[in-house]
């Protein structure tokens, strides 16, 4: 079979305004979800290294469950499954943010755990020996150092989560991929439109990478 396909630049350009409408949703779900995920990650990451088993156990369960199941299943469960339990519908945007939050939170918990555990015990001992409480020692000595080490894996997780939002087209949030699908349904220009969609994801993730690299360079300069 011979292909007579030619890339239609005009079709690609024409799709841009419509696709751009998806970007606020993509960004909102990504960064809204990641912000909550970060909070969950700090909470469960720190619980997972607690000495007491009844603190550690729930954290480990949370991490294993949300790392061990596909995010697509998670969002379908939240959007289609939970309303049965709650007795009312959940709007797709909320479902998307919740899925990113819970899923990234599990991965970020592991990042937090690794970051904190990588700080030498001597740092804690020095803080305690100076009379600082355990809490003061943690937040003014261990955490700032751990956080700097966490920046690269956190950036990694942010990029993964941004891309994960593309799956939420299945619950009908008007994010980037969903906008593309709707547009293609009318114009049949799949090649061009998905190409533009891919470029738009790349723009978001690349700017994040560059920003993080700058932050990292400033942060670790002295360690």
């Amino acid at each position: 079979m011979e292909s007579t396909f030619q890339f239609d630049w005009q079709a690609a350009i024409n799709s841009i305004p419509f696709l751009l409408k998806g970007i606020p949703y993509t960004l909102l779900i990504s960064f809204g979800g990641l912000a909550i995920g970060f909070a969950l990650g700090i909470l469960f990451g720190l619980l997972s290294i607690n000495k007491r088993w009844f603190m550690r156990w729930p954290a480990t369960a949370y991490i294993e469950i949300f790392r061990g199941t596909p995010i697509l299943v998670q969002v379908l469960f939240i959007f289609y499954g939970l309303p049965d339990l709650l007795g009312g519908p959940i709007d797709p945007l909320t479902a998307g943010i919740a899925a990113i939050a819970l899923n990234s939170g599990a991965y970020i918990s592991e990042v937090v755990r690794g970051g904190v555990q990588s700080i030498d015990r001597g740092q804690t001992e020095a803080g305690l020996s100076l009379g600082l409480s355990r809490t003061q020692t943690f937040w003014s000595i261990v955490w700032p150092q751990a956080f700097r080490r966490m920046i690269p894996p956190l950036g990694n997780q942010a990029i993964v989560s941004i891309k994960d939002t593309s799956l939420f087209s299945v619950i009908g949030v008007g994010e980037l991929v969903r906008q593309g699908q709707v547009y293609i349904a009318n114009t049949f220009t799949a090649f061009e439109v998905y190409f533009v969609v891919a470029l738009m994801y790349l723009c978001i993730t690349l700017s994040l990478s560059v920003g993080l690299r700058m932050l990292e360079r400033r942060g670790v300069a002295n360690i």
Binding site: D120, G122, E125, A126, S129, G131, L132, I141, Q145, N222
Partner: protein, 248 residues
């Protein structure tokens, strides 16, 4: 005068391992006690018990009249003790994310709620005292090992401690930097600071110590004035140890 440290029948176990055995030891105010012994003899563990970095299982430990209870007991006095007891570590343990000056200011501002201005002034004074006033705004990684250890001493002094613990303060240093750290410690001893020092620097021990304690396998084997311990050791263990370390 009342002792700053008073240990009676102190025992410590790491699981099966009996690290400290029936330790009786007291330290008078102004006294410099140097603890020597082979590695693994329990000498570091001993001074780490004094500020509660290590727990012990039985016996009694009084630090500055506060009762430091064995493992499992509540530790109300621990915070009070740590405010009065400074510690200098083998690996310096400076805070790498803070400048030299901020390293010193941290504890006074957080624990004693000293104002930033006063803490900064205190830091300048202490850095001057340990001879590195010009390095105040550098980060620890920009300093030599000897300088870092002097910052660590200044950091401990910032809490105005009644007792200073030194856990092999020169063991991680290049030979040419040992002198500058020992000089600061010598100065401190001369000013009347109460000190417990774990070290392999026998010259320093002989010169500065009021009392030398030799530990072998978790037990105090010999103790006395430096001349007595170094020149006329009574116990064969001490003789063997000193023969080994003084040869080079």
């Amino acid at each position: 005068m009342t002792q700053i440290v008073k240990m009676q029948g102190l025992n410590k176990h790491f699981g099966e391992l009996h690290v400290l055995k029936e330790i009786d030891l007291s330290v008078e105010p102004g006294e410099v006690v140097v603890i020597i012994g082979a590695s693994g003899s329990g000498k570091s563990t001993l001074i780490r018990c004094v500020n509660g970095l290590e727990e012990y299982q039985s016996g009694q430990l009084l630090v500055d009249k506060e009762n430091l209870l064995p493992k499992g007991a509540s530790q109300k006095g621990l915070a009070t003790i740590r405010k009065q007891v400074g510690m200098v570590f083998q690996q310096f343990n400076l805070f790498p994310h803070l400048t030299v000056k901020k390293n010193i200011m941290l504890a006074p501002t957080k624990v004693k709620e000293v104002s930033d201005t006063d803490a900064a002034r205190l830091a300048d004074r202490l850095l001057d005292r340990v001879g590195i006033a010009t390095q105040a705004n550098k980060y620890p990684s920009q300093l030599s090992g000897g300088q870092q250890q002097r910052v660590a001493i200044a950091r401990a002094l910032a809490m105005d401690p009644r007792l200073m613990l030194f856990d092999e303060p020169t063991s991680a240093l290049d030979p040419e930097m040992i002198g500058e750290v020992l000089d600061v410690m010598r100065e401190l001893a001369k000013e009347g600071m109460t000190m417990m020092v774990v070290t392999h620097e026998m010259g320093f021990a002989r010169e500065v110590a009021d009392r030398v304690i030799y530990i072998h396998e978790g037990r105090i084997v010999e103790e006395g004035k430096p001349e007595a311990v170094f020149d006329n050791p009574q116990h064969e263990r001490t003789q063997a140890f000193l023969a080994r370390v003084l040869k080079h």
